[in-house]
C-alpha cells in the first residue's frame, strides 16, 4: 500500500515533531478500503505523545480491527503549530493510517480521560470539518461517540455527541457496528439509527432525553422522549478479561509518555477510597489469570521490541498474582535486558525487594500516597494507611539505600481544617527525622522529600459527589499556609513543595459535576481560542472567566454548593452497579471518620457484584 501523506512536505518540515502526523508505526493495522464496510476513527483529544500512551485505545484498536468488515484508524489533536496551518489552509483533519479525512468516516470515537480536554474535543470536530453540535449533523457526517471515565457524567458535552458509550468497550460495540452496517445498507436515516442504538444496553443518546430545571436551577426531570427508551443506562463491564488484549500494540517512532509495553493485570480496586472515582466506576474487581498474563508479556515484548514492561492496575499490591508475576518477569526478562516498571505498588517488604532488583536505588525515588496529613483526615477519605505504616515503610526503604521520597496529598478534602493541613508538613518532617536516626556512616547522603498536593475535585459516583469544593481563593490560601508550615519544620531544607494550579482544578470541578447548560461555556471558551487547557502554557483563566460571564453561568453553582442527597444529579440516569444507597452510607461514614474495610476483608454490599455471575470472589 503506497500511502500519500495528507500533509505536504513543506508543512511537515515547518512543524515541531512531524512524526506525530505520519502514522505507519510498527504494528499499525493496514487494510484495503475496498474490503471495508465500517470506517471507525478512534481519537484521543490531546497531543500524539499523550494519546499514544493510552491503553484503552490500544485495546479498542485491536478489538475493532479483529472485525474483517471494520477498519479502525486513529487521530490525535494536532499541536498548536499545525492547528494554525490547517485552519489557514483549510486542510481537513485526517486519520493516521489512511491519511484520509476523518469527516469521511462512519464513526468518530473520542475518549474522554479528563475534563480539561473538552475544548480539544471541539478542536478535533472543527478541524475535521464536522458540525460541532450533534443537532447540526446530517446523514453523511460521522456518528460521534464519547467514552472513557468522563462519560460517567457526559452532560456538559451532551450537545456535541451523538452517542456516549457508558463503560468498558469490550461488551456492546459489536452490536452497535452490526446495527449500523445493517441500517447503512438500506435507507439510512441518522435519527432512526440513533433511536435504535439507544436501545442497546450501555449506550446513551443525549438528544433523545430531555432535561427540565426548577426555579432554583436544579434538575426537576430527566426523561427519554420516546416511550421505548430506557430510563437508566447500565454501565458496561467486561466479565471475561481474557477475551481481548492487544498482543501487538502500536510502537511509536517518537518518545511518548508511556514508552513501554503495558500489561493490565487487574481491573477495579478493592480499596474504596472515598475521593476516588476510578475505585467506584471500575468495580467489580476482576483479575487476569497469571498464566494468561505470562504468555501475553512474552508476546508483547516479541512483537514490539520494547525494553520495558509495566504492570498496570489501580492498586497492584492487591492483585493476588502480583508476586508470582513480578518474580516471573524478573527471571524471564533479565537476560533479555527488559526492565520492569511497577507503578501503584504499596511500599512494603515485597515491593522494596522487587524495586531493589529492578531499579537503580541511587537514582530512583519511592512514592507514598497518604493523600492526607492527619489520621482523622485519612479516615474521612477511607485511606487505610497509618502514620506507623508510612514511617516504617520509609525506614525500611532508607535502610535499603533509598534517600528520595515523594509524597502525594490532596488539599480541600471534605471537613478539612488547618490542623489537617499542618499535619502534612509534620508528616514530611517525621519522615526526614526518621532518616536521620540512621547512623551517619550508614546514610546515603542527605534525605530528599518532595511533597506534592493536588486540589480535591469531587467526582460523580463517589461518596463525595455531594460535597462542596473549595474555591480558587481557598486553595491559594491553603497552599500558602502549607508552604509556611513546611518552612517552620526543622528539616525544611530537605523538603520541597509542589502544587497544582487552583483555577484549572476549579474548572475541572465545574465540568466533573456540570450539566447540559455547561456546553455553551465550553463552546464560548473554544471560540475564544481555549485549547490544550491541561497544558499550563496554554491555559487561559481569563478567557474561561469571560465565557462563564457571557453565558450567565456561575461556576460555584457546580463546585462550591453542597448538594443534598435528595437532589437529582445530572448523572443519576447512569447505573454503575454501585448503588446510590451505598454511596450515601459511605458519605455518612466519612462525616463520622469511620473507616470501611476493603472488599477482601469484608463485603460492604456496594452493588457492583451484580456484574458477576455468583458475585465477587476473593
Amino acid at each position: 500500500m503506497d500511502r500519500k501523506l495528507a500533509l505536504e512536505r513543506n508543512i511537515l518540515m515547518s512543524v515541531e515533531k512531524p512524526a506525530r502526523y505520519i502514522g505507519n508505526e510498527i504494528n499499525m493495522v493496514k487494510k484495503d478500503l475496498n474490503d471495508i464496510d465500517i470506517r471507525f476513527c478512534m481519537c484521543f483529544p490531546d497531543v500524539y505523545e499523550i494519546g499514544m500512551s493510552h491503553l484503552g485505545i490500544q485495546i479498542l484498536y485491536d478489538m475493532f480491527n479483529k472485525r474483517d468488515d471494520t477498519y479502525c484508524e486513529r487521530v490525535y489533536s494536532p499541536w498548536k503549530d499545525l492547528d494554525e496551518i490547517m485552519r489557514r489552509e483549510n486542510i481537513p483533519l485526517f486519520a493516521l493510517e489512511s491519511q484520509q479525512p476523518v469527516k469521511d468516516f462512519d464513526f468518530l470515537g473520542i475518549t474522554l480521560q479528563y475534563e480539561m480536554c473538552y475544548t480539544n474535543v471541539l478542536q478535533v470536530l472543527d478541524l475535521s470539518q464536522i458540525p460541532l453540535f450533534a443537532a447540526d449533523r446530517g446523514n453523511d457526517d460521522p456518528i460521534v461517540i464519547g467514552g472513557g471515565p468522563c462519560s460517567y457524567n457526559p452532560e456538559p458535552l451532551a450537545d456535541f455527541f451523538d452517542i456516549f458509550y457508558i463503560g468498558e468497550g469490550e461488551t456492546v460495540y459489536d452490536e452497535l457496528l452490526d446495527l449500523y452496517k445493517d441500517m447503512r445498507n438500506k435507507d439510512y436515516d441518522r435519527h432512526e439509527f440513533l433511536r435504535k442504538a439507544a436501545m442497546i444496553e450501555g449506550l446513551y443518546v443525549p438528544s433523545l432525553y430531555s432535561v427540565e430545571y426548577d426555579a432554583n436551577g436544579l434538575i426537576s426531570s430527566f426523561e427519554p422522549i420516546y416511550e421505548e427508551l430506557p430510563h437508566k443506562i447500565r454501565k458496561q463491564a467486561a466479565t471475561d478479561l481474557e477475551e481481548y488484549y492487544p498482543k501487538n500494540p502500536l510502537v511509536p517512532y517518537i518518545k511518548v509518555t508511556q514508552d513501554r509495553a503495558v500489561l493490565e493485570i487487574m481491573r477495579g480496586c478493592i480499596r474504596g477510597c472515598r475521593f476516588c472515582q476510578a475505585g467506584m466506576i471500575y468495580r467489580p474487581l476482576r483479575e487476569r489469570n497469571a498464566d494468561y498474563l505470562k504468555s501475553l508479556a512474552g508476546e508483547m515484548i516479541d512483537s514490539t521490541g520494547y525494553e520495558e514492561i509495566s504492570l498496570s492496575s489501580l492498586s497492584s499490591s492487591d492483585c493476588s498474582c502480583i508476586k508470582e508475576m513480578v518474580y516471573y518477569l524478573i527471571d524471564e526478562f533479565s537476560d533479555k535486558k527488559v526492565n520492569i516498571s511497577l507503578p501503584s505498588l504499596r511500599i512494603d517488604a515485597f515491593s522494596l525487594d522487587v524495586m531493589s532488583k529492578v531499579q537503580d536505588i541511587r537514582k530512583s525515588s519511592l512514592t507514598f500516597a497518604p493523600e492526607a496529613g492527619s489520621q482523622r483526615m485519612r479516615d474521612v477519605i477511607n485511606k487505610g494507611l497509618t502514620e506507623e505504616i508510612i514511617l516504617s515503610g520509609a525506614m525500611d526503604a532508607f535502610k535499603s539505600g533509598w534517600n528520595r521520597v515523594k509524597l502525594y496529598f490532596m488539599l480541600g478534602l471534605p471537613t478539612e481544617t488547618y490542623d489537617d493541613i499542618e499535619a502534612i508538613a509534620k508528616l514530611a518532617e517525621s519522615i526526614a527525622e526518621e532518616y536521620y536516626t540512621i547512623p551517619k556512616e550508614e546514610r546515603n547522603g542527605k534525605v530528599n522529600i518532595v511533597v506534592s498536593t493536588s486540589l480535591f475535585v469531587p467526582k460523580p459516583f463517589t461518596p463525595f459527589q455531594w460535597v462542596s469544593m473549595n474555591k480558587a481563593e481557598e486553595f491559594t490560601d491553603k497552599k500558602g499556609f502549607l508552604m509556611s508550615k513546611i518552612k517552620e519544620q526543622l528539616n525544611q531544607k530537605s523538603i520541597k513543595y509542589n502544587c497544582h494550579d487552583s483555577e484549572v482544578s476549579v474548572l475541572e470541578g465545574v465540568f466533573a459535576r456540570g450539566d447540559r447548560r455547561c456546553a455553551k461555556v465550553i463552546y464560548s471558551a473554544y471560540k475564544k481560542g481555549c485549547m490544550f487547557d491541561s497544558w499550563s502554557e496554554f491555559f487561559d483563566a481569563g478567557k474561561w472567566e469571560e465565557a462563564f460571564l457571557e453565558n450567565d453561568i456561575d461556576p460555584s453553582f457546580y463546585t462550591a454548593r453542597e448538594r443534598s442527597t435528595g437532589e437529582m444529579l445530572p448523572w443519576d440516569f447512569i447505573d454503575i452497579g454501585v448503588t446510590k444507597e451505598f454511596l450515601i452510607r459511605e458519605y455518612e461514614n466519612s462525616k463520622k471518620a469511620v473507616v470501611t474495610p476493603n472488599c477482601k476483608e469484608k463485603c460492604s454490599g456496594c452493588g457492583a457484584s451484580s456484574y458477576l455471575k455468583g458475585g465477587c470472589r476473593f
Binding site: 500511502r3 501523506l5 512536505r9 513543506n10 511537515l12 518540515m13 512531524p18 512524526a19 505520519i22 505507519n24 508505526e25 510498527i26 510502537v251 517512532y253 517518537i254 518518545k255 515484548i301 516479541d302 512483537s303 514490539t304 521490541g305 520494547y306 525494553e307 533479555k336 535486558k337 526492565n339 537503580d360 537514582k363
Partner: protein
C-alpha cells in the same frame, strides 16, 4: 564481534530524527532476536554507533551503523538481513551486513566524504545551480559556531557536482571505490531536475548540500537523498567496501 550495517531510510522516514532512529533500531534488533552486546551497568544499552546522523527531511540509501554482537547465532549475515527487514516498516531496510575485524575503527571516525542527490524539481534551477557552482572560483560559506566563525570554500570541499548522473558516476569512479550497481537500484539515471554531488565529510569539517543552496538562495523545497558515505581523504572508499 563487530558488524557494520548499511541501511536505507526512505519516504516519510525522513521525518524521524536521529535519536528516534536509534531507538527504532534498538527495538527492531530486539524484535529480530539479534544477539546484541550490551554495555555494562545498571541500565545496559545496546552498543551501536552511526557513521553520521542524517538530518530530519533527508532520505538516504547509504547509512551506516556499527554494532557489537555476542555472536551471529544460528543465522548467516544474509539471513539476518531478511529477518530484520521482515520486522521493519518497509522504509528502513538493511541492505548490507558486514562482519568487521575486531580492530576496525568506528565508521564515524573514518568518514571522509558523502555523496548526495538533490531533487530541485526544475530543470532550469538545476542549470542555474551548475552555472553558479562552476562559474565561481570560490564559493565561501561562513560557518558560525558559538565560539568561532569559519570560512569554508565550497568549491574545494565539493569535489564533484553534476546535474547528469552519468557524468557524476564517471567522476566518482576516478576518485572513489563504491558499489555502482547498488546505487543504480535506487537512482534513475535519466531523471531530470536533480543535482548530484560528493561533499567532504567528517567530524572536523562536515559539508552539507544545504550549505550550497543557502548561499545560492532562490531555491526552496528541495529534497536531499544521501547516496553513500566513504572513507579516505583525496581518494575515497565506500564504507560498504570492506
Amino acid at each position: 564481534m563487530k558488524a557494520r550495517l548499511r541501511f536505507v531510510k526512505l519516504g516519510e522516514m525522513q521525518y524521524i530524527g536521529h535519536l528516534d532512529l536509534m531507538r527504532y533500531f534498538q527495538k527492531l534488533f530486539r524484535r529480530s532476536g539479534l544477539y546484541m552486546s550490551y554495555s555494562k551497568g545498571f541500565n545496559p544499552h545496546q552498543i551501536m554507533s552511526f557513521a553520521s546522523p542524517l538530518g530530519v527531511g533527508l532520505t538516504s540509501i547509504g547509512e551506516y551503523l556499527d554494532i557489537s554482537l555476542e555472536s551471529l547465532g544460528e543465522h548467516t549475515e544474509s539471513e539476518w538481513i531478511d529477518i530484520i527487514n521482515a520486522r521493519s516498516n518497509g522504509l528502513i531496510l538493511v541492505t548490507a551486513f558486514m562482519i568487521m575485524p575486531d580492530d576496525t575503527k568506528p565508521s564515524m571516525s573514518l568518514l571522509g566524504a558523502a555523496s548526495y542527490r538533490v531533487e530541485l524539481f526544475s530543470e532550469d534551477a538545476v542549470k542555474d545551480v551548475e552555472r553558479f557552482f562552476y562559474g565561481n572560483e570560490s564559493i565561501v560559506y561562513i560557518k558560525e559556531t558559538k565560539k568561532s566563525k569559519k570560512e569554508i570554500d565550497l568549491r574545494k570541499e565539493i569535489p564533484i557536482l553534476s546535474a547528469d548522473y552519468n557524468v557524476f558516476s564517471d567522476e566518482m569512479s576516478k576518485i572513489c571505490i563504491y558499489d555502482h550497481d547498488y546505487e543504480k537500484k535506487y537512482i534513475d539515471a535519466g531523471e531530470k531536475g536533480c543535482i548530484y554531488m560528493l561533499c567532504r565529510a567528517g567530524s572536523v569539517l562536515n559539508i552539507k548540500p544545504e550549505m550550497l543552496f543557502d548561499i545560492y538562495g532562490k531555491i526552496t523545497g528541495y529534497q536531499i537523498m544521501r547516496l553513500d558515505m566513504l572513507s579516505g581523504e583525496d581518494k575515497y572508499v565506500s564504507m560498504s567496501v570492506g
